[in-house]
Symmetry: C2
């Protein structure tokens, strides 16, 4: 069996899913992306993923606009063809194909749109039950991490480094402050206060981050966006990550420090459950 992949309006077998070597994604990392989760064969928070995609494209001065209805249609079709009950749709939009030149090509250059699915256990899996462990690494990324581009080499290096050291992920830090995980936002809980870094140009403003803020307020916790140090994190009552695929996942160890005695946090667990409930109630 082979997946069906979307490439510029065509549905093709994954072995046939190819793009030009002159695509600017391939030569200049000039592309943006979104990962939308699928639960019960439907999309989670699709509209907000499209809004963020539009913003990424605007920040990079992409010329052509995208048609959200068309995007929704091929997302749904991929989910259906590939029989995705639980998993993700990966979507990428690049500035398109042009002769290699640092200067942007003409603004009417046709965008390259590709998408594929992955099956994943999102609700019930080992990290949901046991939590994850993280190490901290110096954040060497560029200064526009608010744009969701494919310049992911450093997060990829950091993730690989974490696995090599027996951890599940790496939190990237600047001057002792936690920025975010390799592909997720980082949070801590102290008493009734929940902290996650304010979303500026240095981190990605997660779609799940925003949804979780609302859910936390509904649970009467106080969300106070602020940056926190590695030491504060190591001494937090609970810690967790959020992302489109992790939802809310407990962090039970940061470097050598166990959080909540190495067990998943009670509030984190209730937050995860509440988030999943509202996600299931609002599928597209």
């Amino acid at each position: 069996m082979t997946r069906t992949v979307y490439v510029n309006g065509e549905y093709v077998a994954e072995q046939e899913a190819k793009v030009s070597v002159f695509d600017r994604a391939f030569l200049f990392a000039d592309a943006v992306y979104e990962v939308t989760s699928v639960l019960n064969g439907k999309l989670v928070d699709f509209d907000n993923h499209m809004k963020r995609l539009q913003r990424s494209m605007l920040e990079l001065n992409y010329g052509p606009k995208i048609d959200e209805d068309e995007f929704l249609e091929f997302h749904r079709k991929l989910v259906s063809i590939n029989k995705i009950d639980e998993g993700i749709v990966y979507l990428q939009v690049s500035r398109g194909i042009a002769e290699r030149d640092f200067a942007f090509p003409s603004s009417d250059t046709k965008l390259t749109v590709t998408a594929f699915t992955q099956k994943k256990k999102l609700i019930e899996n080992e990290t949901a039950t046991k939590g994850i462990t993280v190490i901290t690494v110096d954040d060497l990324r560029w200064k526009r991490c608010d744009i969701k581009t494919i310049q992911l080499l450093y997060p990829s290096i950091a993730k690989t480094e974490a696995l090599k050291k027996g951890a599940d992920d790496a939190w990237m830090t600047q001057n002792g402050y936690v920025m975010e995980g390799s592909s997720n936002n980082a949070w801590i809980i102290k008493g009734k206060n929940i902290h996650t870094r304010e979303a500026d140009n240095l981190i990605l403003n997660g779609i799940t981050r925003l949804a979780v803020m609302k859910v936390a307020e509904q649970l009467k916790y106080r969300v106070v966006p602020k940056q926190f140090t590695v030491t504060e994190a190591e001494n937090a009552d609970e810690a967790f990550i959020t992302s489109a695929t992790a939802f809310v996942t407990s962090v039970v160890k940061i470097n050598d420090y166990k959080i909540n005695n190495g067990k998943i946090g009670v509030f984190t667990q209730s937050l995860r459950e509440a988030y999943i409930k509202q996600a299931l109630d609002t599928l597209t």
Copy 2:
């Protein structure tokens, strides 16, 4: 007429030159590259480009090794098939094709090797005669610019911004210091001293940069590698850039400041001529 492009051992028409959407260059900007100039149908400084490529791959823990003889062979074949008398060969090596995952795939994943040519007037062209103008912009790139990766979105943004403002290129700065151009090293001359930033993790150590250092010494100028401020550059006697395609090209204006009264520098010109002479004498 269509170019012939090299893709993993095959020579194909440029329209057919394609790679998988699962290539890590396309999804994670996980690829390194080299641009080798061609003069008289032969390669300039090929061995040093290969050495730097090997270093880039080593820094990123690419598993498989490359065969320099094989690389030389397809470089020569592309130059020949495409009748390149003067121009460049663009070479890219990515970590290869793998299911999308931030963690590096198995170290025996097959590298994706692609290469194509561009015809360009390198020795005689308008910038050689008139010089170029540059603006300065804040350097927002990551902190491993010593590795020649395809994470080129910011240099591309900077170059486009320069053109929009009527300049030819942008010099990227950090805390008032000039780092490098969008795809070249930046230099100034004060008296008998030539300055260019020391090559650390924040800039690319240009192959042409190293060659020009030697040529300058032969011409009895003193090369003193050190970082310089935008103000120092604006008040320099001469300024220039070096790269595989620009060789040595005079900078005649930096922001609003004319350098050498807006004319190409005398020493810069002699350095350019001496560099080209030794390049022509040592072709591969």
